[in-house]
Protein backbone atom coordinates (compact mmCIF):
# COMPACT_ATOMS: atom_id res chain seq x y z
CA UNK A 1 0.00 0.00 0.00
CA UNK A 2 1.33 3.40 -0.94
CA UNK A 3 0.87 6.89 0.39
CA UNK A 4 2.24 10.19 -0.81
CA UNK A 5 2.43 13.55 0.91
CA UNK A 6 3.62 16.97 -0.23
CA UNK A 7 5.56 18.93 2.35
CA UNK A 8 5.98 22.71 2.19
CA UNK A 9 9.23 24.25 3.38
CA UNK A 10 8.71 26.71 6.24
CA UNK A 11 5.23 25.44 7.12
CA UNK A 12 6.02 24.50 10.71
CA UNK A 13 2.39 24.58 11.81
CA UNK A 14 1.52 21.72 9.46
CA UNK A 15 4.58 19.60 10.22
CA UNK A 16 3.46 16.26 11.61
CA UNK A 17 0.42 15.80 9.42
CA UNK A 18 1.86 13.00 7.31
CA UNK A 19 3.30 11.35 10.39
CA UNK A 20 0.00 11.32 12.27
CA UNK A 21 -1.85 10.12 9.17
CA UNK A 22 0.46 7.12 8.74
CA UNK A 23 0.32 6.46 12.47
CA UNK A 24 -3.47 6.17 12.25
CA UNK A 25 -3.14 3.60 9.50
CA UNK A 26 -0.53 1.56 11.38
CA UNK A 27 -2.60 1.50 14.55
CA UNK A 28 -5.36 -0.36 12.75
CA UNK A 29 -3.04 -3.06 11.47
CA UNK A 30 -2.16 -4.80 14.72
CA UNK A 31 1.51 -3.86 14.52
CA UNK A 32 3.52 -3.79 17.76
CA UNK A 33 2.70 -0.42 19.41
CA UNK A 34 6.36 0.34 20.10
CA UNK A 35 7.20 -0.14 16.41
CA UNK A 36 4.31 2.16 15.46
CA UNK A 37 5.73 4.72 17.81
CA UNK A 38 9.24 4.44 16.39
CA UNK A 39 7.89 4.96 12.88
CA UNK A 40 5.79 7.94 13.96
CA UNK A 41 8.79 9.59 15.58
CA UNK A 42 11.07 8.97 12.58
CA UNK A 43 8.42 10.28 10.18
CA UNK A 44 7.85 13.40 12.22
CA UNK A 45 11.56 14.19 12.49
CA UNK A 46 11.95 13.63 8.75
CA UNK A 47 9.00 15.90 8.01
CA UNK A 48 10.41 18.64 10.22
CA UNK A 49 13.76 18.40 8.44
CA UNK A 50 12.11 19.20 5.11
CA UNK A 51 10.05 22.00 6.65
CA UNK A 52 13.06 23.51 8.40
CA UNK A 53 15.66 23.24 5.67
CA UNK A 54 14.14 22.71 2.21
CA UNK A 55 11.82 24.64 -0.14
CA UNK A 56 9.51 21.71 -0.69
CA UNK A 57 9.51 17.95 -0.62
CA UNK A 58 7.58 14.74 -1.25
CA UNK A 59 7.20 11.87 1.18
CA UNK A 60 6.45 8.46 -0.29
CA UNK A 61 5.44 5.64 2.01
CA UNK A 62 5.31 2.02 0.92
CA UNK A 63 3.79 -0.48 3.30
CA UNK A 64 3.48 -4.27 3.23
CA UNK A 65 3.06 -7.04 5.80
CA UNK A 66 6.78 -7.18 6.58
CA UNK A 67 8.00 -3.61 6.55
CA UNK A 68 7.47 0.07 5.91
CA UNK A 69 9.70 1.98 3.49
CA UNK A 70 9.75 5.75 3.47
CA UNK A 71 11.46 7.98 0.91
CA UNK A 72 11.65 11.73 1.32
CA UNK A 73 12.98 13.80 -1.52
CA UNK A 74 13.29 17.52 -1.20
CA UNK A 75 14.33 20.50 -3.25
CA UNK A 76 16.63 22.54 -1.10
CA UNK A 77 20.17 23.54 -0.29
CA UNK A 78 21.32 19.95 0.28
CA UNK A 79 23.68 18.75 2.99
CA UNK A 80 27.34 19.68 2.73
CA UNK A 81 28.76 17.04 5.05
CA UNK A 82 26.44 14.10 5.73
CA UNK A 83 28.70 12.51 8.32
CA UNK A 84 28.71 15.70 10.36
CA UNK A 85 24.95 16.15 9.91
CA UNK A 86 24.44 12.77 11.51
CA UNK A 87 26.24 13.81 14.69
CA UNK A 88 24.09 14.53 17.70
CA UNK A 89 23.79 18.21 18.40
CA UNK A 90 24.98 19.36 15.00
CA UNK A 91 22.58 21.67 13.23
CA UNK A 92 22.63 24.34 10.54
CA UNK A 93 19.17 25.57 11.53
CA UNK A 94 18.69 29.34 11.60
CA UNK A 95 18.07 31.24 14.82
CA UNK A 96 14.40 31.67 13.89
CA UNK A 97 13.99 27.92 13.51
CA UNK A 98 15.73 27.31 16.83
CA UNK A 99 13.49 29.83 18.55
CA UNK A 100 10.52 27.74 17.50
CA UNK A 101 11.98 24.81 19.38
CA UNK A 102 13.40 23.01 16.36
CA UNK A 103 16.97 22.59 15.14
CA UNK A 104 18.53 21.02 18.21
CA UNK A 105 20.59 18.73 15.99
CA UNK A 106 18.77 15.62 17.18
CA UNK A 107 16.57 15.00 14.14
CA UNK A 108 18.80 12.77 12.02
CA UNK A 109 20.30 10.83 14.96
CA UNK A 110 16.73 10.30 16.20
CA UNK A 111 15.67 8.96 12.81
CA UNK A 112 18.62 6.58 12.82
CA UNK A 113 17.75 5.36 16.31
CA UNK A 114 14.15 4.69 15.41
CA UNK A 115 14.60 2.95 12.07
CA UNK A 116 16.16 -0.36 11.02
CA UNK A 117 17.76 1.09 7.93
CA UNK A 118 18.48 4.65 6.94
CA UNK A 119 20.22 6.14 3.97
CA UNK A 120 20.89 9.79 3.33
CA UNK A 121 22.15 11.24 0.06
CA UNK A 122 22.39 14.80 -1.11
CA UNK A 123 23.44 17.03 -3.99
CA UNK A 124 24.55 20.41 -2.79
CA UNK A 125 22.35 23.19 -4.10
CA UNK A 126 19.74 20.74 -5.39
CA UNK A 127 18.28 18.70 -2.60
CA UNK A 128 18.37 15.76 -0.24
CA UNK A 129 17.01 12.23 -0.37
CA UNK A 130 16.30 10.33 2.82
CA UNK A 131 15.40 6.65 2.65
CA UNK A 132 14.42 4.68 5.70
CA UNK A 133 12.92 1.34 6.55
CA UNK A 134 11.37 -0.27 9.60
CA UNK A 135 10.72 -4.01 9.76
CA UNK A 136 7.60 -5.19 11.60
Amino acid sequence: MQFEYDIQGGDFSSAGKASSDIKKVLKQLNIDPQIVRRIAIALYEAEVNVVAHAYKGVMKVDLDAQKIKIVLEDEGPGIENIERAMQEGFSTASDEVRQMGFGAGMGLPNIKRNTDEMHLSSVLGEGTKLEMMVIF
Binding site: S20, V25, K27, Q28, L29, P33, V36, L63, F136
Partner: protein, 460 residues
Amino acid sequence: MKDRNYTHAIQIDTTKCIGCSHCMQVCPTQAIRIIEGHADIMPERCVDCGECYRVCPVKAIFVEDDGISAINIDAYRIALVPSIFIGQFPSEHTASEILDAIKQIGFDEVFEVEQAVDFMKKTYDAIADEADYSPRPIIGSFCPAIVRLIQVHYHSLVDQILQIKAPLDIAALYLRKSKAKENINPENIQIYYITPCAAKIVAAKAPVGEKVSPIYGTIDMKEVFNLVSKTLMERKDSKLSKQVANMSPDSVKWSIPGTEKQYFRGRSLAIDGMENVVEFLDRLESGRISGVDFLEMRACDQGCAGGILCPGNRFLTVERLEQREKKLASLITTTEPVQNELMEYAEEMEKVFKVDPVYPRDGLQLDDDLEIALQKMERIKKLNTYLPGFDCGACGAPTCRSLAEDIVKEKATISHCVFVQRVMEKNYNLSPDQAFLTIEKIWGKDRLKKYQHSNGKTES
Protein backbone atom coordinates in the same frame (compact mmCIF):
# COMPACT_ATOMS: atom_id res chain seq x y z
CA MET B 1 -1.54 -9.46 26.29
CA LYS B 2 -4.85 -7.73 25.64
CA ASP B 3 -7.56 -6.42 27.94
CA ARG B 4 -10.93 -7.71 26.73
CA ASN B 5 -13.20 -6.70 29.56
CA TYR B 6 -15.63 -4.30 28.00
CA THR B 7 -17.93 -3.42 30.89
CA HIS B 8 -19.68 -0.07 30.45
CA ALA B 9 -21.85 2.22 32.52
CA ILE B 10 -23.01 4.30 29.56
CA GLN B 11 -26.12 2.66 28.08
CA ILE B 12 -28.72 3.55 25.48
CA ASP B 13 -32.43 3.17 26.05
CA THR B 14 -33.55 2.27 22.53
CA THR B 15 -37.18 2.92 23.38
CA LYS B 16 -36.33 6.58 24.01
CA CYS B 17 -33.59 7.05 21.43
CA ILE B 18 -34.79 8.98 18.37
CA GLY B 19 -31.64 8.28 16.36
CA CYS B 20 -30.77 11.97 16.04
CA SER B 21 -27.02 11.18 15.80
CA HIS B 22 -25.90 14.02 18.12
CA CYS B 23 -24.03 11.48 20.24
CA MET B 24 -22.40 9.91 17.18
CA GLN B 25 -20.95 13.27 16.16
CA VAL B 26 -19.33 14.02 19.53
CA CYS B 27 -17.92 10.60 20.45
CA PRO B 28 -14.14 11.09 20.75
CA THR B 29 -13.44 7.43 19.92
CA GLN B 30 -15.94 7.13 17.03
CA ALA B 31 -17.68 4.35 18.93
CA ILE B 32 -21.27 5.20 17.95
CA ARG B 33 -23.26 4.28 14.85
CA ILE B 34 -26.92 4.76 13.96
CA ILE B 35 -28.59 1.45 13.15
CA GLU B 36 -32.31 0.87 12.63
CA GLY B 37 -33.25 4.23 13.98
CA HIS B 38 -31.19 4.35 17.14
CA ALA B 39 -27.66 4.83 18.42
CA ASP B 40 -25.51 1.78 18.98
CA ILE B 41 -22.26 1.79 20.98
CA MET B 42 -19.30 -0.39 20.01
CA PRO B 43 -18.24 -1.86 23.37
CA GLU B 44 -14.60 -2.34 22.38
CA ARG B 45 -14.21 1.36 21.61
CA CYS B 46 -16.26 3.07 24.32
CA VAL B 47 -14.26 4.60 27.18
CA ASP B 48 -17.27 5.80 29.24
CA CYS B 49 -16.24 9.45 28.99
CA GLY B 50 -19.92 10.43 28.73
CA GLU B 51 -19.63 13.06 25.98
CA CYS B 52 -22.65 11.39 24.35
CA TYR B 53 -24.68 11.64 27.56
CA ARG B 54 -24.16 15.41 27.62
CA VAL B 55 -25.63 16.01 24.17
CA CYS B 56 -28.55 13.56 24.10
CA PRO B 57 -31.71 15.70 23.63
CA VAL B 58 -34.15 13.04 24.86
CA LYS B 59 -32.16 11.53 27.76
CA ALA B 60 -32.01 8.18 25.99
CA ILE B 61 -28.41 7.78 27.06
CA PHE B 62 -28.23 6.85 30.70
CA VAL B 63 -25.66 5.89 33.27
CA GLU B 64 -26.15 2.55 34.93
CA ASP B 65 -25.25 2.86 38.62
CA ASP B 66 -26.26 0.61 41.50
CA GLY B 67 -28.49 3.31 42.97
CA ILE B 68 -29.71 4.09 46.46
CA SER B 69 -32.23 1.28 46.23
CA ALA B 70 -29.33 -1.20 46.19
CA ILE B 71 -28.23 -0.25 49.70
CA ASN B 72 -28.48 -3.25 51.95
CA ILE B 73 -29.82 -2.21 55.35
CA ASP B 74 -28.30 -5.23 57.09
CA ALA B 75 -24.77 -4.29 56.07
CA TYR B 76 -22.44 -1.75 57.62
CA ARG B 77 -22.87 0.98 55.02
CA ILE B 78 -20.25 3.60 54.29
CA ALA B 79 -20.69 6.43 51.80
CA LEU B 80 -17.54 7.64 50.06
CA VAL B 81 -18.06 11.24 49.05
CA PRO B 82 -15.81 13.18 46.67
CA SER B 83 -15.09 16.81 47.64
CA ILE B 84 -16.81 18.03 44.48
CA PHE B 85 -20.10 16.88 45.99
CA ILE B 86 -19.65 19.41 48.76
CA GLY B 87 -18.85 21.96 46.05
CA GLN B 88 -22.33 21.45 44.57
CA PHE B 89 -23.81 23.49 47.42
CA PRO B 90 -23.48 27.19 48.28
CA SER B 91 -20.77 27.92 50.85
CA GLU B 92 -23.32 28.72 53.59
CA HIS B 93 -23.67 24.97 54.00
CA THR B 94 -20.64 23.55 55.75
CA ALA B 95 -18.98 20.32 54.75
CA SER B 96 -20.01 18.62 57.99
CA GLU B 97 -23.61 19.68 57.45
CA ILE B 98 -23.62 18.19 53.95
CA LEU B 99 -21.85 14.99 54.99
CA ASP B 100 -24.34 14.55 57.84
CA ALA B 101 -27.24 14.97 55.42
CA ILE B 102 -25.78 12.17 53.29
CA LYS B 103 -25.50 9.97 56.38
CA GLN B 104 -29.20 10.47 57.07
CA ILE B 105 -30.06 8.90 53.72
CA GLY B 106 -29.14 5.59 55.27
CA PHE B 107 -25.45 5.21 55.92
CA ASP B 108 -23.63 4.21 59.09
CA GLU B 109 -20.69 6.34 58.17
CA VAL B 110 -19.62 8.99 55.66
CA PHE B 111 -16.05 9.51 54.50
CA GLU B 112 -14.60 12.19 52.22
CA VAL B 113 -12.49 10.59 49.47
CA GLU B 114 -9.94 13.41 49.40
CA GLN B 115 -8.66 12.40 52.84
CA ALA B 116 -6.79 9.72 50.88
CA VAL B 117 -5.07 12.42 48.84
CA ASP B 118 -2.71 13.14 51.74
CA PHE B 119 -1.45 9.60 51.26
CA MET B 120 -1.16 10.05 47.46
CA LYS B 121 1.00 13.15 47.91
CA LYS B 122 3.30 11.28 50.26
CA THR B 123 3.85 8.51 47.74
CA TYR B 124 4.39 10.71 44.69
CA ASP B 125 7.96 11.55 45.60
CA ALA B 126 8.85 7.89 46.04
CA ILE B 127 7.16 7.07 42.75
CA ALA B 128 9.10 9.77 40.96
CA ASP B 129 12.36 8.22 42.21
CA GLU B 130 11.33 4.72 41.19
CA ALA B 131 10.12 5.87 37.82
CA ASP B 132 13.38 7.63 37.01
CA TYR B 133 14.31 5.07 34.39
CA SER B 134 10.91 4.61 32.81
CA PRO B 135 9.82 6.51 29.70
CA ARG B 136 8.50 10.00 30.31
CA PRO B 137 6.06 11.56 30.77
CA ILE B 138 4.33 9.44 33.36
CA ILE B 139 0.56 9.68 32.86
CA GLY B 140 -1.59 9.96 35.97
CA SER B 141 -4.11 7.15 36.48
CA PHE B 142 -6.69 9.20 38.39
CA CYS B 143 -9.29 9.45 35.64
CA PRO B 144 -10.60 6.03 34.49
CA ALA B 145 -11.81 7.44 31.15
CA ILE B 146 -8.26 8.56 30.36
CA VAL B 147 -6.83 5.13 31.24
CA ARG B 148 -9.37 3.49 28.94
CA LEU B 149 -8.80 6.03 26.16
CA ILE B 150 -5.11 5.13 26.21
CA GLN B 151 -5.96 1.42 26.20
CA VAL B 152 -8.07 1.82 23.08
CA HIS B 153 -6.26 4.53 21.13
CA TYR B 154 -2.70 4.88 22.35
CA HIS B 155 -1.26 1.40 22.72
CA SER B 156 2.31 2.62 22.80
CA LEU B 157 1.56 4.75 25.85
CA VAL B 158 0.00 2.12 28.15
CA ASP B 159 3.35 1.50 29.84
CA GLN B 160 3.50 5.16 30.83
CA ILE B 161 0.33 5.03 32.91
CA LEU B 162 1.13 5.40 36.58
CA GLN B 163 0.49 2.06 38.22
CA ILE B 164 -1.18 3.20 41.39
CA LYS B 165 -4.69 3.15 42.76
CA ALA B 166 -6.93 6.20 42.70
CA PRO B 167 -7.65 8.07 46.00
CA LEU B 168 -11.11 6.54 45.96
CA ASP B 169 -9.70 3.00 46.23
CA ILE B 170 -7.14 4.03 48.84
CA ALA B 171 -9.96 5.51 50.93
CA ALA B 172 -12.02 2.33 50.57
CA LEU B 173 -9.08 0.10 51.50
CA TYR B 174 -8.35 2.24 54.53
CA LEU B 175 -11.97 2.00 55.66
CA ARG B 176 -11.93 -1.77 55.32
CA LYS B 177 -8.74 -2.04 57.33
CA SER B 178 -9.75 0.37 60.07
CA LYS B 179 -13.21 -1.16 60.46
CA ALA B 180 -11.63 -4.59 60.89
CA LYS B 181 -9.92 -3.18 63.98
CA GLU B 182 -13.27 -1.98 65.29
CA ASN B 183 -14.47 -5.57 65.09
CA ILE B 184 -16.83 -4.98 62.22
CA ASN B 185 -17.02 -8.07 60.05
CA PRO B 186 -15.28 -7.14 56.77
CA GLU B 187 -17.74 -9.33 54.87
CA ASN B 188 -20.50 -7.13 56.16
CA ILE B 189 -18.99 -3.80 55.08
CA GLN B 190 -20.44 -2.19 51.99
CA ILE B 191 -18.79 0.89 50.60
CA TYR B 192 -20.80 3.05 48.23
CA TYR B 193 -19.22 5.73 46.09
CA ILE B 194 -21.23 8.84 45.22
CA THR B 195 -20.08 9.15 41.63
CA PRO B 196 -19.76 12.25 39.44
CA CYS B 197 -19.36 10.21 36.25
CA ALA B 198 -19.79 6.95 34.36
CA ALA B 199 -16.09 6.17 34.17
CA LYS B 200 -15.80 5.85 37.97
CA ILE B 201 -18.67 3.36 37.94
CA VAL B 202 -16.83 1.22 35.43
CA ALA B 203 -13.64 1.54 37.47
CA ALA B 204 -15.53 0.11 40.44
CA LYS B 205 -17.24 -2.65 38.45
CA ALA B 206 -14.39 -3.67 36.18
CA PRO B 207 -11.14 -2.17 37.48
CA VAL B 208 -8.06 -2.04 35.24
CA GLY B 209 -4.87 -3.36 36.85
CA GLU B 210 -6.76 -4.83 39.80
CA LYS B 211 -8.77 -7.99 40.22
CA VAL B 212 -11.53 -6.58 42.35
CA SER B 213 -12.41 -3.12 43.52
CA PRO B 214 -12.94 -2.41 47.22
CA ILE B 215 -16.02 -0.39 46.21
CA TYR B 216 -19.26 -2.33 46.69
CA GLY B 217 -21.58 -0.07 44.77
CA THR B 218 -21.96 3.29 43.08
CA ILE B 219 -24.68 5.90 43.36
CA ASP B 220 -25.40 8.66 40.85
CA MET B 221 -24.46 12.00 42.39
CA LYS B 222 -27.71 13.58 41.15
CA GLU B 223 -29.78 11.13 43.18
CA VAL B 224 -27.90 11.97 46.36
CA PHE B 225 -27.94 15.68 45.52
CA ASN B 226 -31.74 15.70 45.41
CA LEU B 227 -32.08 14.01 48.79
CA VAL B 228 -29.44 16.16 50.46
CA SER B 229 -30.93 19.37 49.02
CA LYS B 230 -34.26 18.49 50.60
CA THR B 231 -32.67 17.81 54.00
CA LEU B 232 -30.69 21.04 53.91
CA MET B 233 -33.79 23.05 53.02
CA GLU B 234 -35.82 21.58 55.84
CA ARG B 235 -33.09 22.01 58.42
CA LYS B 236 -33.25 25.64 59.50
CA ASP B 237 -30.79 25.99 62.38
CA SER B 238 -27.76 23.90 61.80
CA LYS B 239 -25.86 22.61 64.78
CA LEU B 240 -23.34 21.05 62.48
CA SER B 241 -21.51 24.14 61.38
CA LYS B 242 -18.41 23.08 63.30
CA GLN B 243 -15.65 22.47 60.81
CA VAL B 244 -12.51 20.47 61.28
CA ALA B 245 -9.44 20.34 59.09
CA ASN B 246 -8.74 16.62 58.89
CA MET B 247 -6.75 16.84 55.66
CA SER B 248 -4.34 19.25 54.05
CA PRO B 249 -6.24 22.16 52.45
CA ASP B 250 -5.36 21.69 48.78
CA SER B 251 -6.36 18.01 48.85
CA VAL B 252 -9.96 19.07 48.22
CA LYS B 253 -8.89 20.31 44.79
CA TRP B 254 -7.19 17.05 43.70
CA SER B 255 -9.92 16.11 41.23
CA ILE B 256 -9.95 19.49 39.48
CA PRO B 257 -7.12 20.57 37.18
CA GLY B 258 -3.80 21.80 38.51
CA THR B 259 -3.35 20.33 41.97
CA GLU B 260 -2.15 16.78 41.35
CA LYS B 261 0.54 17.92 38.92
CA GLN B 262 2.19 20.05 41.56
CA TYR B 263 3.08 16.96 43.51
CA PHE B 264 5.06 15.30 40.78
CA ARG B 265 8.65 16.50 40.60
CA GLY B 266 9.84 18.00 37.35
CA ARG B 267 7.90 19.48 34.45
CA SER B 268 4.26 18.60 34.64
CA LEU B 269 1.14 19.59 32.74
CA ALA B 270 -2.52 19.50 33.65
CA ILE B 271 -4.81 18.77 30.70
CA ASP B 272 -8.59 18.61 31.00
CA GLY B 273 -11.34 17.99 28.48
CA MET B 274 -11.51 15.03 26.12
CA GLU B 275 -10.60 17.00 22.98
CA ASN B 276 -7.56 18.54 24.61
CA VAL B 277 -6.40 15.20 25.94
CA VAL B 278 -6.77 13.56 22.51
CA GLU B 279 -4.83 16.35 20.81
CA PHE B 280 -2.04 16.15 23.34
CA LEU B 281 -1.72 12.37 23.32
CA ASP B 282 -1.56 12.42 19.50
CA ARG B 283 1.38 14.77 19.69
CA LEU B 284 3.02 12.80 22.46
CA GLU B 285 2.74 9.54 20.54
CA SER B 286 4.53 11.06 17.55
CA GLY B 287 7.46 12.10 19.69
CA ARG B 288 6.55 15.75 19.38
CA ILE B 289 6.58 16.38 23.12
CA SER B 290 9.84 16.17 24.98
CA GLY B 291 11.11 16.97 28.44
CA VAL B 292 7.77 16.56 30.19
CA ASP B 293 7.77 14.39 33.32
CA PHE B 294 4.14 14.10 34.31
CA LEU B 295 0.73 14.48 32.76
CA GLU B 296 -2.28 15.08 34.94
CA MET B 297 -5.26 14.30 32.72
CA ARG B 298 -9.00 14.58 33.26
CA ALA B 299 -11.57 13.64 30.62
CA CYS B 300 -13.95 16.40 31.72
CA ASP B 301 -13.42 20.12 31.33
CA GLN B 302 -12.64 21.45 34.85
CA GLY B 303 -11.93 17.88 35.95
CA CYS B 304 -14.47 16.12 38.12
CA ALA B 305 -16.29 19.41 38.72
CA GLY B 306 -17.43 18.96 35.12
CA GLY B 307 -18.46 15.33 35.63
CA ILE B 308 -21.55 14.31 33.69
CA LEU B 309 -23.50 13.48 36.86
CA CYS B 310 -22.65 16.72 38.69
CA PRO B 311 -25.86 18.73 39.01
CA GLY B 312 -24.16 22.08 39.66
CA ASN B 313 -22.18 24.46 37.48
CA ARG B 314 -18.57 23.35 37.11
CA PHE B 315 -17.07 26.81 37.51
CA LEU B 316 -19.03 27.51 40.68
CA THR B 317 -17.94 24.15 42.02
CA VAL B 318 -14.29 24.96 41.37
CA GLU B 319 -14.65 28.32 43.09
CA ARG B 320 -16.30 26.72 46.11
CA LEU B 321 -13.50 24.20 46.40
CA GLU B 322 -11.03 27.08 46.34
CA GLN B 323 -12.98 28.76 49.14
CA ARG B 324 -13.01 25.52 51.10
CA GLU B 325 -9.25 25.20 50.69
CA LYS B 326 -8.82 28.68 52.21
CA LYS B 327 -11.20 27.81 55.02
CA LEU B 328 -9.31 24.64 55.85
CA ALA B 329 -6.05 26.56 55.79
CA SER B 330 -7.37 29.07 58.30
CA LEU B 331 -8.81 26.29 60.48
CA ILE B 332 -5.38 24.71 60.69
CA THR B 333 -3.87 27.91 62.06
CA THR B 334 -6.74 28.88 64.39
CA THR B 335 -7.96 25.59 65.85
CA GLU B 336 -6.55 22.49 67.44
CA PRO B 337 -5.17 20.39 64.58
CA VAL B 338 -7.12 17.22 63.82
CA GLN B 339 -5.23 14.18 62.65
CA ASN B 340 -6.12 12.64 59.29
CA GLU B 341 -6.81 9.18 60.65
CA LEU B 342 -6.09 7.60 57.27
CA MET B 343 -2.44 8.57 57.56
CA GLU B 344 -2.09 6.33 60.60
CA TYR B 345 -2.50 3.50 58.13
CA ALA B 346 0.02 4.90 55.64
CA GLU B 347 2.45 2.05 56.13
CA GLU B 348 -0.21 -0.56 55.48
CA MET B 349 -1.48 1.36 52.47
CA GLU B 350 2.01 1.42 50.99
CA LYS B 351 1.83 -2.36 50.69
CA VAL B 352 -1.32 -2.28 48.58
CA PHE B 353 -1.46 0.98 46.65
CA LYS B 354 0.13 -0.31 43.44
CA VAL B 355 -1.77 -1.90 40.57
CA ASP B 356 -0.78 -4.34 37.81
CA PRO B 357 0.33 -3.17 34.37
CA VAL B 358 -2.35 -1.87 32.02
CA TYR B 359 -2.88 -3.72 28.73
CA PRO B 360 -4.11 -2.40 25.39
CA ARG B 361 -7.60 -3.02 24.01
CA ASP B 362 -8.61 -4.08 20.52
CA GLY B 363 -10.90 -1.19 19.57
CA LEU B 364 -9.08 -0.06 16.42
CA GLN B 365 -7.67 -3.22 14.83
CA LEU B 366 -9.07 -4.28 11.48
CA ASP B 367 -7.84 -7.84 11.92
CA ASP B 368 -5.49 -9.89 14.09
CA ASP B 369 -3.68 -11.03 10.97
CA LEU B 370 -1.47 -8.28 9.58
CA GLU B 371 -1.80 -9.51 5.99
CA ILE B 372 -5.61 -9.44 6.16
CA ALA B 373 -5.60 -6.13 8.03
CA LEU B 374 -3.45 -4.68 5.30
CA GLN B 375 -5.86 -5.88 2.60
CA LYS B 376 -8.72 -4.28 4.49
CA MET B 377 -6.75 -1.07 4.84
CA GLU B 378 -6.10 -1.05 1.11
CA ARG B 379 -9.87 -1.31 0.54
CA ILE B 380 -10.54 1.49 3.03
CA LYS B 381 -8.10 3.69 1.17
CA LYS B 382 -9.84 2.94 -2.12
CA LEU B 383 -13.33 3.45 -0.66
CA ASN B 384 -12.22 6.80 0.69
CA THR B 385 -11.63 8.04 -2.82
CA TYR B 386 -15.30 7.33 -3.66
CA LEU B 387 -16.77 8.88 -0.53
CA PRO B 388 -17.39 12.64 -0.51
CA GLY B 389 -15.14 13.31 2.50
CA PHE B 390 -17.18 15.87 4.37
CA ASP B 391 -18.47 13.63 7.11
CA CYS B 392 -22.18 14.48 6.88
CA GLY B 393 -23.15 11.45 8.96
CA ALA B 394 -26.20 10.57 6.85
CA CYS B 395 -24.85 7.02 6.45
CA GLY B 396 -25.11 6.46 10.20
CA ALA B 397 -21.34 6.65 10.74
CA PRO B 398 -19.56 9.75 12.12
CA THR B 399 -17.08 10.16 9.26
CA CYS B 400 -16.58 8.95 5.69
CA ARG B 401 -13.52 7.17 6.98
CA SER B 402 -15.50 5.28 9.60
CA LEU B 403 -18.09 4.28 6.98
CA ALA B 404 -15.23 2.87 4.89
CA GLU B 405 -14.07 0.90 7.95
CA ASP B 406 -17.59 -0.38 8.57
CA ILE B 407 -17.84 -1.49 4.94
CA VAL B 408 -14.68 -3.60 5.11
CA LYS B 409 -15.88 -5.01 8.43
CA GLU B 410 -19.08 -5.95 6.58
CA LYS B 411 -21.21 -3.85 8.88
CA ALA B 412 -22.32 -1.45 6.12
CA THR B 413 -22.37 -1.15 2.35
CA ILE B 414 -21.25 1.62 0.03
CA SER B 415 -24.90 2.42 -0.75
CA HIS B 416 -25.22 3.72 2.83
CA CYS B 417 -23.56 6.88 1.52
CA VAL B 418 -26.34 9.14 0.23
CA PHE B 419 -24.07 10.65 -2.40
CA VAL B 420 -22.95 7.31 -3.77
CA GLN B 421 -26.62 6.30 -3.67
CA ARG B 422 -27.63 9.13 -6.03
CA VAL B 423 -24.95 8.08 -8.52
CA MET B 424 -26.01 4.44 -8.28
CA GLU B 425 -29.63 5.40 -8.90
CA LYS B 426 -28.68 7.49 -11.91
CA ASN B 427 -26.68 4.60 -13.34
CA TYR B 428 -29.56 2.20 -12.63
CA ASN B 429 -27.44 0.15 -10.21
CA LEU B 430 -29.92 0.81 -7.46
CA SER B 431 -33.67 1.28 -7.65
CA PRO B 432 -35.31 4.16 -5.72
CA ASP B 433 -37.10 1.53 -3.63
CA GLN B 434 -33.85 -0.12 -2.66
CA ALA B 435 -32.35 3.27 -1.79
CA PHE B 436 -35.41 3.97 0.33
CA LEU B 437 -34.99 0.69 2.20
CA THR B 438 -31.32 1.46 2.86
CA ILE B 439 -32.23 4.78 4.45
CA GLU B 440 -34.90 3.05 6.55
CA LYS B 441 -32.37 0.46 7.69
CA ILE B 442 -30.11 3.19 9.04
CA TRP B 443 -32.57 5.76 10.30
CA GLY B 444 -35.50 3.56 11.27
CA LYS B 445 -38.63 2.33 9.60
CA ASP B 446 -40.89 5.30 10.12
CA ARG B 447 -38.30 7.99 9.71
CA LEU B 448 -39.40 8.94 6.18
CA LYS B 449 -43.11 8.64 6.86
CA LYS B 450 -43.84 12.32 7.26
CA TYR B 451 -42.41 13.12 3.84
CA GLN B 452 -44.71 10.55 2.26
CA HIS B 453 -47.67 12.19 3.98
CA SER B 454 -46.91 15.58 2.55
CA ASN B 455 -46.78 14.04 -0.92
CA GLY B 456 -50.18 12.59 -0.30
CA LYS B 457 -49.03 9.13 -1.30
CA THR B 458 -49.97 7.34 1.90
CA GLU B 459 -52.97 7.59 4.16
CA SER B 460 -52.51 8.50 7.79
